[in-house]
Subunit: 269 residues, 2 copies
């Protein structure tokens, strides 16, 4: 299968586009997959699903569940319920994967927060199994450890998947989050058979910001092809999702964006 047949356009790469625009533009450009975000489904996953399918497109993943560490029991209960809802929405969309961003420590110690992530996953795992949705545990770059994810390495994510020991648990490899890791190649190899998704963007130098600093593939220093080949070597042949948070790209998102992405995917990934 060619890279272009595996291309998924993550909605957040063009935040100003409505779901309708994303669907129309992807369809017109021959992009087969969409990476969906819950807050961009207009509150109706069934309707969103129908719209996406009507153009022959598929959803590669839904972002996001997780965020398990909570300051109170009540808040914790709400989060578990929200994860169950997210699993349902993923199933409605036909998304094989719900992306799990574990959340910050939220006042707990790091080790307690990490234990809470495992507990939360164990709690919702039966729902995922029933729905046929894989919980794709995504380690985030360590610069997000305090605000978004206490899971920061592929090793940690794979350790969690081993503890969950279910076909409904996998790891999500995002190049931006893992490229720096001295163990990334071994850990990709270790994740053989449980890679649930592969995301690409690039790390520009200098990095313009913490949250909005990602760049188009080829405009940074990540060895994207090496990572993609390592992921493929495990047997993964699923979607390659382009997820870039970059205000310049948002501002200038027009018909040329998807063509540029296709070109950069072929050249750099």
């Amino acid at each position: 299968m060619s890279l272009l047949q595996r291309l998924s356009f993550n909605q957040m790469t063009a935040d100003p586009w409505s779901l309708e625009q994303v669907v129309r533009n992807c369809s017109r450009s021959g992009v087969p997959y969409i990476g969906a975000w819950r807050h961009k489904l207009n509150g109706d996953a069934s309707k969103a699903s129908a719209m996406i399918r009507s153009e022959g497109l598929r959803v590669s993943s839904l972002c996001r569940g997780g965020w398990f560490s909570a300051p109170t029991v009540e808040e914790r209960r709400k989060r578990v319920a929200d994860n169950r809802l997210a699993i349902e929405e993923a199933a409605l969309l036909g998304a094989p994967v719900l992306v799990i961003v574990s959340g910050p420590a939220n006042g707990q110690t790091l080790s307690d927060a990490r234990a809470a992530v495992l507990d939360g996953l164990l709690e919702v795992l039966p729902d995922a199994e029933k729905a046929g949705v894989i919980l794709g545990i995504e380690p985030l770059h360590p610069m997000y450890a305090a605000e978004r994810s206490v899971v920061v390495t592929l090793k940690q994510a794979s350790d969690l998947v081993e503890r969950l020991s279910s076909p409904a648990a996998g790891v999500l490899v995002d190049a931006f989050h893992v490229w720096w890791d001295p163990e990334v190649m071994q850990q990709i190899e270790r994740a053989c058979g449980r890679i649930a998704g592969f995301h690409v963007s690039d790390w520009p130098v200098p990095l313009p910001g913490i949250l909005m600093g990602r760049a188009m593939m080829g405009d940074g220093v990540i060895e994207l092809r090496k990572l993609r080949q390592a992921v493929d070597a495990t047997g993964y042949d699923g979607p390659i999702e382009v997820e870039i948070f970059n205000e310049e790209i948002w501002k200038n998102a027009d018909d040329g964006l998807l063509e540029l992405i296709k070109q950069r995917l072929v050249e750099h990934v």
Copy 2:
């Protein structure tokens, strides 16, 4: 020994202060150590050393050597020469440790750049041994992997130290750089006997910037006491260096700064 007897004030915590001011203020506040930077020695390490000693102060470390990966052979030669000079300067200052920041990949692949770091260290190690200066390999936070240091974990630093296998090679533990690491406690324990220094600051939420985002101890989420106790448990009883890059602190650096640092050290470290 009390924490205050181990306190070192890194010059960059108050960038606007001249060396003279740092020496005078530390002396007045009873801060026994200074963490020195090469570019802040007024180009004369001997004179700087005399000034520091005249007030009864000692230098805990000199920052920095390293930065080994170079685009050309000539540039590489210059960097090795500069590291030799840095070792000499550390010896002149009576600094037991030269902080090694390994540098970015600089156009090389990550694995080549990491090999170049080991080669560079091997090249200058005999000079360090002769001078009685420890090369303190400091892993930087992975958010600096592209611009400042391809060495990003304590594990990597300890692996390097094992390869160097010399009393003149050690690791430098900076809480800001390593707190997020799921293996930080094991790796501190593993580094027993080769910890060459311990630096503290804090990680505020949200992090205001990549380079200038550090906070005063107690104003962030790092479990500083836990890390300090782990470092001490290895037998390390050397200086605790306060190194904060924060523009607000720079702007407001006055007589109160050292008193605040002493208070926060006792309360949080």
